[in-house]
Every structure is written in structure tokens, then in C-alpha cells.
């Protein structure tokens, strides 16, 4: 009956029914055809809300939102301009460096694409960047955020696979930097070919000197997050709560740009994002129930291990499946849907689960800027006021970089397991 579920899900999805509702529709039809009790839907919807580690999601969203709503965003862009503005295509480079730094504050690529896109794309267009290229840089580089800790997709993978979230966070740094450096090189190359302008910070270091100390507390956030986790001072959920306290402190006492209205807006935004993310997580949990009862993971694991003789072929097959699924499904939903299946397969071929987690997130984050459904792609195209097709053309070099990194993560364990 899993097939009936997939068909109904796909049809509803094509009709533009929201993803979570479409999942529930598919599961409902499958349960009826199977003669299984529909009551399971409500029960499984509830399950993810009972997980304590899941609390880290709203608090990391809130911390990032509080930080970005104030002056921190401006400082961030200024630091990036100071560092890389002198390169050709400087504003493109700023976008990438910005994403790496922003990644340490936020666990979400969409927050990154929205915040940095709105700040940088309009300026890039004014300086003569092709619309498609400006949107392409933003949609691809913002995915670095989900690799540099904290990371919501990595938390989700940790939850479904029982792998330590701390290990996943630590292992995410290197792939995140690799992606950043690769994209940096691509922007440099394109900028030289198209002769894009430099964008140094006006007044240079002298002008910035006064700001540097005020920017430091915000930039210390990633150090704080990784430090507390890495040295086992606190658990991920506790760190997410302390990150909110830290963000409140920094914007309240250092930047002094915090007010009740801002806090309320950040909380409402966080609640809405948590609701939308969790609803998909909850709906996936009903799908997982159905797949478990029908023993799909075991069947799949047996099928995969018996039809492919070599582990490298299985890893390749998993990557292809993820690229396809990621093109259609949003990143958190895809992690939750494929995570349990691939953990079974990964264990069968002795693949380290931390490596598998990074492989999944690197792979599925490519889906954020591939059509037909790509959230950072949509956001960036909307900000640049251009068509998806234009952006995709300019994205080719970024796909190339991301696939190289994916290949390395998939086949070189040393990059993720220390």
C-alpha cells in the first residue's frame, strides 16, 4: 500500500495542496485500502512534539532571528566587504563569506537566503550583476548555513538516526567550509570572465575600526555554540536556550536596538516557522509508521545490498535517490523521510552514520536550489525579480562545486570522521 500512498501524495502535491496535508492524504488513503486504523494518524502527528531535543529547533530559529533583526546584519556585511571586497566580483564574495559567518548564528538556509539576499542582491543589481547570477550566488551560498553549526537538518538527522548531534555539528564545519571555498572560486572565475566590479568597504579599515568591537559579540556566537557543545558543557537543547539568552543580551545591552515590538515579531516569526517545519515533521512521522509496518526499510536494505555488489555503488544509488527526492521535497522533510531508510541501508554496508548524515545534508541542500521545488532558489529569484530559468543557467558552476564536495564527502570518510 506504500505505492498507493506515494501516488496520492504526488497527485495532491501537483495540485498545490500543502506538502504536509498531501502526506496526510496519502497516508489516509493507504490506511483505508490496507484496512488499518486511521487513528494512527493523530497519534503519530503527536509523537514528534514529545521529543525534548526537538525543542532546539524553535530556540535556534529564535536566536538567529533576534540577532538578525538588529544591527548585527549590517556589521556582518561590513566585515565581509572588508575581508573580500577587493576581489573582482566583491559583492558576490561578500554573499558567500556572509553565509559562512551567518551560518554560525542560524541553523536555517532560508533565514540566510532571506536576510543576506535582501541586503545584497539589490546592491549587486545596481552594480551591474546579471539578475540570474546575483540570485544564483544567494540561493547556492545560503545553503552553507545548514552545514556550519548550528544546523536544523543535522539536528533532525541526529534524532532519526540516534547519532550524537554534537558529532554531527562538529563534522559539518569542514564540508561547510569546502562548499564556501569552492563557491568562492567559482564567483572569482565568473567575475573575471564577466568583468564584475570590486566592492571594497568605503573608507576601508579606518572607517570600520570603530565598529569592529561592537561586531565581535555577535561573531562570537558560533564559537560559543560549538564550544559549549564540543566540550560537553551543555546539551544541544540547553545550548539553543542559552543562545537565545545570549542574543537577547547582545542586542539588548551591546547594540541596544532591542524593543518589545522586535521581540514579539521575532517570537511570532519563530512560532510560524516552527509550526510549518514541525507540521511536515509530524506528517512524515505518519509516513514512517506506514513504511515500518510494511517493513519497507528492511525490504529496501535487502534489495539494495543484494542488487548492488559494492558499497560504492550503494552510496552512489543513495545519492541519486536523494538528488531526485531533494529536487521535489524540502530539506527537513526529505531528511525525515529518507533518514530512517538510509540508516538501515548504511548500517548494512558499514557506512559511518555521521558520514551518512553529512552526505544527506550536503546532498539534500543542493535541492534547495534545484527546480521544481527549491526554497532558496524561489526566494532569491523573487528578490532579484527574475525567472527561475535564468537563475538555473547561472547556477551551473555552483551545481558543479556542490557535486564535487558531495562526491568527496561520500567517498572520503576522513573528511567527516575524526
Amino acid at each position: 500500500m506504500a505505492l498507493a500512498m506515494i501516488w496520492v501524495f504526488m497527485i495532491l502535491l501537483a495540485l498545490a495542496v500543502p506538502v504536509a496535508h498531501a502526506m496526510l492524504g496519502g497516508v489516509g488513503v493507504a490506511l483505508i485500502l490496507d484496512g488499518k486504523p486511521l487513528a494512527v494518524i493523530l497519534q503519530r502527528l503527536y509523537t514528534p512534539t514529545q521529543s525534548f531535543p526537538m525543542l532546539a529547533i524553535p530556540f535556534f530559529i529564535l536566536a538567529g532571528s533576534l540577532m538578525m533583526s538588529g544591527k548585527f546584519g549590517v556589521y556582518l556585511v561590513n566585515i565581509a566587504r572588508l575581508l573580500v571586497g577587493n576581489f573582482k566580483g566583491g559583492l558576490g564574495q561578500v554573499s558567500i563569506i556572509g553565509s559562512v559567518m551567518f551560518g554560525g548564528v542560524s541553523g536555517s538556509a532560508v533565514a540566510d537566503a532571506t536576510a543576506l539576499g535582501n541586503a545584497l542582491i539589490p546592491v549587486q543589481l545596481k552594480e551591474g550583476y546579471p539578475k540570474g547570477f546575483a540570485a544564483a550566488i544567494n540561493s547556492a551560498s545560503s545553503t552553507v548555513s545548514v552545514l556550519i553549526p548550528p544546523s536544523i537538518p543535522l539536528i533532525l538527522f541526529g534524532l532519526v538516526s540516534n547519532v550524537s548531534i554534537v558529532d554531527l555539528f562538529v563534522a559539518g564545519i569542514l564540508p561547510g567550509l569546502m562548499l564556501g571555498i569552492g563557491m568562492f572560486a567559482m564567483v572569482w572565475w565568473v567575475a573575471h570572465r564577466r568583468n564584475l566590479p570590486r566592492a571594497p568597504l568605503e573608507g576601508g579599515f579606518q572607517a570600520f575600526k570603530g565598529q569592529i568591537f561592537t561586531a565581535v559579540p555577535a561573531l562570537l556566537m558560533p564559537v560559543f555554540v560549538i564550544g559549549t557543545l564540543r566540550f560537553g558543557i551543555a546539551t544541544p537543547t540547553e545550548v539553543s536556550v542559552m543562545a537565545v539568552a545570549y542574543a537577547l543580551f547582545v542586542s539588548g545591552f551591546v547594540y541596544r536596538d532591542l524593543n518589545a515590538r522586535l521581540i514579539w515579531a521575532a517570537c511570532v516569526e519563530t512560532a510560524m516557522m516552527t509550526g510549518a517545519v514541525m507540521f511536515i515533521i509530524m506528517a512524515s512521522s505518519t509516513i514512517q509508521w506506514l513504511l515500518t509496518v510494511e517493513r519497507v526499510p528492511q525490504t529496501l536494505a535487502i534489495w539494495v545490498t543484494s542488487s548492488f555488489s559494492e558499497p560504492w555503488m550503494i552510496i552512489l544509488a543513495m545519492n541519486i535517490v536523494m538528488l531526485v527526492v531533494g529536487a521535489f521535497l524540502d530539506l527537513p522533510a526529505a531528511v525525515l523521510l529518507l533518514g530512517p531508510l538510509f540508516v538501515t541501508v548504511g548500517q548494512a554496508i558499514g557506512l559511518d552514520l555521521v558520514q551518512l548524515g553529512l552526505m544527506m545534508v550536503v546532498n539534500l541542500s543542493i535541492g534547495l536550489y534545484t527546480p521544481p521545488v527549491g526554497t532558496t532558489l524561489f526566494i532569491s529569484a523573487a528578490i532579484a525579480r527574475t525567472g527561475i530559468g535564468e537563475v538555473v543557467k547561472s547556477l551551473m558552476p555552483f551545481y558543479f562545486v556542490a557535486l564535487i564536495v558531495l562526491l568527496l564527502i561520500s567517498y572520503v570518510p576522513a573528511l567527516t570522521i575524526y
Binding site: 486504523p37 487513528a39 531535543p53 550524537s164 566540550f231 560537553g232 546539551t235
Partner: protein
């Protein structure tokens, strides 16, 4: 008809093996009329969720936990009174007798049918730097407990500082030094590698825990008498196997853990028993008859 039997244990755990055995026995007893779909590793949710599922008819049977069950039938929590049973066979005798029947009756008021009791072992204390052989050693110890009132009461009576924490957060919390130690049956300690962080294992055996095997009452009542008999019989037979493995488990785990660096010591149980007597008084106020009956049955 398909019967879903769900539990939270992973491969290698006695509960996992017993569940497979249950499936085999039940299916054979009903001449293959009913097939059993065993869902291990909490794939159907955690213990609390599995109980909701069974009551709501989403699954049929679950090998569950004493803690989750006591959220529905608080009396089941009394099985964990400190140092109640002198050994496992005594506990089994009590559970298979009148006390078990009484608990089953209480469960049926809440939409659940207890098919029988398997084991979950006896709990011991692990510490990061020392043994706690005497009650005095445990004074002031920051100890992680599950969110279970009985366990918290026991360690408060001993003068320790118990704090409940989610199981999933335990290894990080122990590493961070927030806690001096924790308490669990050896199987759990071994499978989560907790002895690598807290190598000092004191065999306190302070608390017994059962694994109630529970069916949804509406499903149960819809069965014919023969099938009901099959379910009870399968639980009993698989339970024998499970209890045997559980008994041997502690004996085989100890050398394994020692080889991995854990150190073991015995506890002065008599002194501990006296130090925790106040816990009995507290619960005797709430459940005077049952506490008395349990003490008597355990002493026989």
C-alpha cells in the same frame, strides 16, 4: 489477521529475542490464522506512545515499561519500591500471582489488558569517580534519574541530589560533569556505553523493574477464547526465555564491562534498606493495602 507487536528494544536485547519468540508461538498456536508483525526499536513510538496506540487500537500488543505503565496504573510503580525483592525469582513469583492479577484488573479500567510480566532487570548505580557501597557515600551525589517519582523518592531519602533528565541527553550531561552518575540496569548501561564515562559500578540493586506485556483491551475483547489463551500462553512461554536471558545477562555483562575498564563493587544492602525505609512510609499512606500485600508476598 495481522497483529502488531511493538517494543522499544534493539537487536540483541532479551526483549527483542522474546518478542520474536512471542510472534512465532502465537502464530503457531492460532494455526497461522493470525500473523504477527514485530516492530522493534521504538519504531512505533516510545513506551508511552505505544500504550496510547494499544489503547486506541492502532497496535495490538506492546512489551512496555514499568515507568510508562505507571502513568496509567500508578500502582505498577510500587513494584519499584526500594529493595523490595531479594532476587529476580521472588519478583517473578509475586508478579505471576495475585498482585499481577490485581494490576491487570486496574489496567483494564484504563483500556489495557496485561498479558503477563517480563523482566527489565534490577537497577544499579554508576559513578564517575567512586563506589557508593554505603548509603553515606551517596549523600549529596548529583544523580540523573528517569522522570519517575519512585526513583526520585529513593534518592532523596538517601540524601542524594536526584534530577530527572531525558535519556537521549544523558551521555552529554554525564560528560559535562553536571551529574556525578546515574542508575540503570546493566543492559542499558552497557548498550549506551555509560560505563565509559562512569566506570564505577556499585551493585546496589535498589529497584526492580518489570516489562509488562500489554494488549489493547478492545482488541483483546474481540478475540475468541482460544486466541486469548494463545496470547497468554505465548507471553508466558516467551517470558520464560526472556527471564532466563535477563538472569544470565547480568552475569555475562559484568566481565564484558570489566574488560572495557569498568570497576565493580557490592553494596551494603542492609544499610541501604534501612536508609530508604521512609519511602515505604510515604507510599503506605497512599496505598496501605497494596504496600502491605507486596511486602508480604515478597517476603514469602
Amino acid at each position: 489477521e495481522e497483529v502488531i507487536f511493538a517494543h522499544g528494544a534493539n537487536a540483541g536485547n532479551p526483549r527483542f529475542v522474546a518478542a520474536e519468540k512471542w510472534a512465532e508461538l502465537f502464530s503457531a498456536c492460532t494455526d497461522g490464522k493470525d500473523t504477527v508483525n514485530v516492530a522493534p526499536s521504538a519504531t512505533m513510538g516510545n513506551d508511552v506512545e505505544m500504550l496510547t496506540s494499544a489503547t486506541g487500537g492502532v497496535i495490538q500488543v506492546t512489551a512496555n515499561s514499568q515507568g510508562a505503565m505507571s502513568q496509567i496504573v500508578p500502582e505498577i510503580g510500587l513494584l519499584g519500591l526500594p529493595f523490595l525483592f531479594k532476587d529476580l525469582p521472588t519478583a517473578w513469583k509475586v508478579l505471576d500471582g495475585d498482585v499481577g492479577a490485581m494490576l491487570d484488573k486496574r489496567a483494564q479500567d484504563s483500556g489495557l489488558k496485561i498479558l503477563g510480566f517480563w523482566d527489565n532487570g534490577i537497577r544499579n548505580v554508576t559513578h564517575v569517580s567512586k563506589f557508593v557501597s554505603e548509603p553515606a557515600d551517596i549523600k549529596g551525589m548529583k544523580i540523573r534519574t528517569p522522570p519517575d517519582q519512585m526513583t526520585v523518592d529513593i534518592f532523596e531519602a538517601l540524601g542524594a541530589a536526584p534530577a530527572p533528565l531525558a535519556w537521549s541527553e544523558l551521555p552529554t550531561a554525564l560528560q559535562s560533569g553536571v551529574f556525578d552518575g546515574q542508575e540503570n540496569p546493566l543492559t542499558n548501561i552497557y548498550s549506551a556505553k555509560l560505563h565509559e564515562i562512569t566506570p564505577y559500578v556499585t551493585m546496589t540493586g535498589h529497584k526492580y523493574e518489570s516489562t509488562p506485556v500489554v494488549a489493547g483491551l478492545s482488541w483483546w475483547q474481540g478475540l475468541d477464547e482460544k486466541t486469548q489463551g494463545c496470547a497468554i500462553e505465548a507471553t508466558k512461554e516467551a517470558g520464560k526465555l526472556q527471564r532466563q536471558m535477563s538472569l544470565e545477562g547480568d552475569e555475562t555483562l559484568r566481565p564484558k564491562m570489566e574488560a572495557e575498564g569498568a570497576k565493580f563493587a557490592e553494596a551494603d544492602k542492609k544499610a541501604y534498606q534501612e536508609a530508604t525505609a521512609s519511602v515505604y512510609e510515604k507510599y503506605a499512606k497512599q496505598y496501605p493495602d497494596l504496600v502491605e500485600a507486596l511486602k508480604k508476598a515478597a517476603a514469602e
